[in-house]
Symmetry: D2
Subunit: 510 residues, 4 copies
């Protein structure tokens, strides 16, 4: 709950689809894209954009962008004009700054000497500032503050500028990857191909799915010959809603070409000698949907393990375990299983309350976040409650909840937090409050329990979190043979914990 | 989940507020009304309306109505013009028919010989057809199909028509109550008073709350002298979000006057000799929010008891118990507690999917409701699952869920339904599919398990449901002394189970 | 120009259409109604409404209402649902008060004992207050402040209330006409018939047109057998845009039945002995579109005659004659023709300026109405200008124009006003500023020329206006034999000049 | 009227404003810009955009763009955020192609090595295709098809790229002007300065106005010391509505710097030896508002002279002269004055008809454009009418008008067209139908009178038009000393008549 209230957020989700076989395709590409994007809506609610290509030579592109949720941004009349297309990419964006304008909305499309390219990007370039200067020094004006435009212009001007013939986009993408180490998961559409790219550190997720006939969706025997199309997505949770099978992850540093002919690795750009991969650990902790799969393991299971680990690290003398709905529930169930305490529900969430325009001005403001919840009094009156939350970020939203529970009859409320305290900024795509706003950097953190009115407060340790995450990967190492050769490299275990530890995967130079 | 998908719905929610003490009040009445209404949003999402009175003589009324959720219907500019008011009523409406027009939106306001009255209504008059004829025979044209307008005109013309002096609204309300036995929970605003009325059978809920200073919200010692205002609502769940304390239910047949001077019973219209109360049992089963309190017990607790009762009536040889999120969760936890089987989560719901405009036309339609869910595979692969749902209404939404779970690795899926089959229409305010659409009336119901692909299917019995509901009331009978005298009558136990049994509380004459 | 700026306005326009011949008709009734209504848009821009009937027994009505211009109020999706219908009525409304709500929008439809009736009304009932009381005393609640609802309820309850059989609507309409003398032009739709009614004083206009094949639109030989439908409209200007021929006026007091079988006079309710007709003279002066025909003469011609009359009454020693565009142009051309002075244009109007949301706060407010106009300097620099305006109502808009012209080089600006000063309120459907706001009632009117900076100011006299209007009718008296018998009565000449003279056609009793 | 119906249109209007004196200014710059833009609305109704700068170092820019008329594109909440600013530019755009997207909307703002620049452009680059290639060959991706983005990127990359220090924008603008000869009138905003630029041929208009206190607006004695700000606009008609005095035109090839310190010529880029200026003659004929001033003369006067010239070239034996409202009225009055025939009005235009969504499908389509007009029958029945229109472009809109007049009683209708036939495409900013669509290129043009049903048809000759236009300039040559030195060059007379003659001012190379 704290994460939701604190304004912490992922910057984006990307999704692409290429129809397999002969074109024009019978596959409703725009529908697949839209529903796939809806399944990534939790990664960004500010704006949404889509670009379709018919894949012809020269290709015709059709685009639409809009503010708000996909359902608002893509009204019926917009979907009408997107009926035709053999491939396409789309994007949903999180509001990271106050500047929430349509022109920052992705995918970004530009006309180049060789025709139009479209780019969708999840992540944040650590050296964006220097790269912008470089591009502008070359004489290019940048019309937005988005990294996506920057990447697009870098791809457009990266030497060598081949005259008139088909450009070598792969060489240009590789060149781009030498210019900026992280963080990006990219989709680049050009004519009839989508290039799916993950930075060498694998900081942001990206995975591939295979569209098969619905009837063969769950049969193990569906082979390449049944393929109706290929999809590529920030998270695998989007595959269920469009009838796609999980195929594999794009590996750190990998450039994959997705076309009607299939999926093909074009190159794997290596990290500097000695560097570990740095997949964002917060994808597991908070951002991803629980049914998504990263590094071979389900996010829900990792969160449950975090709860179990927390029960080991921070046991409590209490009567019941509960959750602040809804994101902390897997951890709460894990805590209950490990501790043997019964799991109950203590709060009922009003899912409509967030949307009113009302600016409460006196009495109602005092109710704080508690007005979003009803207490399920009978379940816990007279009991000692262990309440699991996914984080305490700013520290001003858990207090009213504790007050509510105590006033409704809980004799003690112990807070157990299923992640370590956030203390440092992220420069790789996560929107985190300023250092000063983070409760873990404030004096009152010394007596956090007293500050928020809890009987006790304990966080998961960084080591505990890393263990909970990597334990599932270790157990998978040997049996996972999906992508044999390159796999050896990629399965070296490593995660970015910069916001918890201040150790960034690359040197920060501004 | 089935209820949500089946189109079953409550017709309305009503909410009112009167500021206590001296007027003009400092209380933000419009804010209280709007937030109170938001908390009743689950009872109706089609339209919302609000009417404020300054309570002066003659009073000035300010009204606003709009389509959609409260947040859409009441945009900031509308809320601006509602800043002033000492009392008011509001209403949220469910789309029961295709006719979803602004003019059917409540509250209904008319000008009478004695000034304006405003009426908000939850329920459905069983003899509406005959009453419409009666009103029109008197020469009144009716501009909408809403019962609310009908009630308003009945109040306006009910003899005796007192000339010029203040009208005896209580006599008129009593007269109205003799004209129509059920079902209605009414708010009638006239000048500086709200009359809160519940039909003699108490078919629809209505309860009263007391606004106290936020600081005294949970102190037991707050007395009448701390009252900042009175609220009246379809459900007590709305009290938490505005900082009100639960005061009491309006009793079946009771006419309560709510004014700045307090709450006063004006009359209790009795039922015919021998008739039991007939509070709608589906308020417990599905409509109400789990944190609401009816007849002294929390709805969540009743649902949990339904789950326990179901475990007694229909035990299962299985490994785990789970829920179709979100409404069946209390029953699933109850079933798990009673059966001793572990409770786990098997499905992850995409809360954004319902809102896209996409009309899936071939492959995506085949995915059915399953595209709303992600399977949490690791939690149940290789296991026998007992899946608790709140109902099976049409029977075409549970099958894809079962398929999804089996394909994700469940070895068996047993369905346990926490309510009895729905077989009959409701004429008292619930929107139920036609008799022919109800699965319980179809031939395939004989082999419902085979039809939906479950290992077994069992429903809660009507007796089991009634036991689960009334058991909590019985235990409360003696200690509940809140409203002493009239209480004796009201606490005779009885519930309307017409949609399950075909036994209607009153004779239906059309 | 003054009229436009002053807020003076007509209250409404009504329009109806019945398809002739066999039903279902091939005629696009909704299209005819919409385009007909657009042609009456100058009579009201606040809201628009339409009701269609299929004319079956029982009939199905389809309705739509919206705020703003017809083009805004009837968006494409609304027009879609109006595709079917054999007859219908529609209405456009002027914002007479601050209360600009959808529920006041006409036509008003109510369900009665005998089925639905729909009413559209142009005018204002002089005894509305007493009638509202009468209706409410009968026990009817009124949900709006509109006369249209009042009329509808009066028709619904007027005795005798016939039980169950078909009602005698004509008797009820006649009864209504005895209850209220003026002012109303009414369309009442019931099942398959439209009743077109004009009050006994004929205060508001109403005329009938015949839809013929476009190819026969201008041939004199088209007879009844070519009729594709009948239309009825506040003004004949609407006929051109839908391809209808002018048929005739509805006479004062006449009740006309329009059905697929044709047009039939059902009754003519007489005025009290000795009373003259009282057609609103301002329909000629300002409200009507110049190409409309009243009492056999074209409005443009009357306005031109006013200009000629003004040249006779108030000749000027000047060089050129011009107009404040656009409504004063016919009078200006008449003045030029009569005076022999050349007609030129002096002002160019920016037709977009009125629509911006800008609230000019210092320098721009000083520019006043002049910022709507560009001076065509070269046309009048160094000349003495006679400027014709249609009225001076409040007197604060002409001054900046005069200033503009003088600064652009006019040596003298003489104002000649093509209507007499407005001094009195209208209770029959025209929105006029309060008595205090009218310049003619203010002290500065004594030196109006000095006040507004003109070299001289002269108004048309009331006698001059009446002459200009009635001269055309007189010349028509003998040759007009269209509706022979009743015609004799109706062509007694008389006009309502109450706002100029204070002489109202009926006694005002409140 | 033909122009309006034919889809011929100007591509854009530009407007800028700089507050004079000390900053922050008291002048409401956003208001001045918005009202100035509204006065240019006739030059483009598709979209509108505005960019304000506070002029600080580094500056803060605030921008807003929207679709539709200024009043729609700039809703109140958008105007709110534009309250602060010391200078700004804005733009209104005409829909020249089907692609009517927000991203093509101007002004175009990009970030460069030296900070943001904003560009607004009226015109069309004749060598846009080659320039786009050049920019893209340099490695710049172009995100829109607009010339404005192209110009902006050309300015950004034009060598020499000065490193880090202030850039020499004037050198870059001069460089741009050598790259593209025509057509453009440009506003370039950078920090605290607006550069106003007109191409060497002066193809598109641009002029400067001086904001003075309203009280001194028309006094001849206001000097520089009274200046409140400077405005620059496509047309001088915008000055009246904001209280600005006409100052002077920007000359062909001139680069003017407008700052708080005043107006300063930085450079005048010459045409190739021997080339004449080529101001678009259609600005006089149709596009400009009649009260605008070009080359020292009022547009209205030129149109009137065209009418006089037409009367000389093509006299008619008729009774009356009239106009197709509204744009042909000055020519009609000129024709009447020259010919001695009386001027009358024959048509009344319904100004609301254009906006309905109705798609007439059978009978109503037959009415064609005539349904926009009412015939003022009494004015011309039995008479021979000379009808002046401003053009006949496609030839399918005048025929229904002629039919209407004849059916309403005109004995003969003679068409006189106040401009020569359009036969050739424009590549310099005017949207003209394809060559095949132009009536003058069709076989039926041989008998145009018979084709449209007129008694006779005659066009103004090209020579006649040029005479009517240049005659006013000649008479001004000697007395015009406004901008003495450069003036000598600029006042060499020459106009672009390419669409009439096929003679383009520059060689067209694609």
């Amino acid at each position: 709950m704290e994460f939701e209230e604190s304004g912490i957020g992922e910057e984006c989700g990307v999704f692409g689809c290429v129809a397999a076989g002969e074109w024009p395709t019978q596959l409703e590409v725009a529908q697949v894209l839209t529903l796939g994007l809806v399944a990534l809506q939790h990664r960004g609610q500010e704006s949404a954009g889509i670009v379709l290509s018919n894949g012809a030579s020269p290709p015709t592109y059709t685009a639409h962008k809009g503010m708000g949720l996909v359902s608002t941004a893509f009204p019926p009349e917009a979907l009408m004009k997107l009926r035709y297309g053999n491939l396409g990419i789309c994007h949903t964006r999180y509001s990271t700054t106050g500047i929430s304008e349509l022109q920052n909305c992705q995918p970004f499309v530009v006309d180049t000497l060789h025709g139009q390219i479209a780019v969708a990007h999840n992540g944040e370039l650590v050296n964006a500032h220097a790269l912008r200067k470089k591009v502008m020094r070359h004489g290019v004006g940048l019309s937005t503050s988005s990294d996506s435009e920057l990447i697009t212009q870098l791809l457009a001007f990266t030497p060598p500028m081949e005259e008139l013939d088909a450009p070598d986009w792969v060489a240009r993408i590789k060149n781009l990857m030498t210019e900026t180490p992280t963080s990006y998961s990219l989709l680049v559409m050009y004519k009839d191909v989508i290039y799916a790219v993950r930075d060498p550190y694998g900081n942001r997720p990206l995975c591939i799915g295979q569209l098969v006939p619905i009837s063969k969706l769950h049969s193990s025997g569906s082979g390449e010959e049944d393929t109706e199309g290929w999809v590529v997505s920030s998270e695998s949770c989007s595959f269920q809603s469009i009838g796609a099978k999980y195929y594999r992850e794009v590996l750190p540093g990998e450039i994959v070409q997705i076309s009607k002919h299939g999926v093909k690795t074009l190159s794997v750009v290596p990290r500097p000698e000695g560097d570990l991969p740095a997949f964002c650990i917060f994808e597991y902790v908070y951002f991803a949907r629980p049914d998504s799969i990263f590094e071979g393991q389900m996010v829900y299971t990792v969160r449950q393990r975090c709860g179990r680990q927390l029960a080991i690290e921070a046991p409590t003398d209490a009567d019941v375990v509960s959750t602040v709905p809804e994101s902390a529930t897997p951890a709460a169930l894990g805590y209950a299983q490990q501790s043997g305490l019964p799991y109950i529900e203590v709060l009922c969430k009003n899912r409509y309350v967030g949307r009113t325009f009302i600016q409460p001005n006196t009495r109602l403001r005092q109710l704080g976040v508690a007005k979003k919840f009803g207490a399920l009094t009978d379940n816990f009156a007279g009991k000692r409650v262990v309440l699991i939350d996914d984080s305490i970020v700013r520290g001003n939203t858990i207090a009213p909840i504790i007050k509510l529970l105590k006033e409704a009859g809980a004799t003690e409320v112990h807070i157990r937090v299923a992640s370590p305290p956030i203390r440092f900024p992220c420069y790789m795509g996560i929107n985190i409050p300023t250092k000063e706003e983070l409760i873990a950097n404030k004096p009152e953190f010394q007596d956090i329990a007293g500050h928020i009115g809890a009987a006790s407060v304990q966080y998961l340790t960084v080591e505990g979190l890393v263990t909970a995450v990597q334990q599932g990967i270790s157990s998978l190492q040997e049996k996972d043979k999906m992508i044999s050769s390159s796999n050896k490299t990629s399965r070296r275990v490593g995660h970015c914990t910069a916001c918890l530890t201040g150790k960034y995967p690359v040197e920060l130079e501004w």
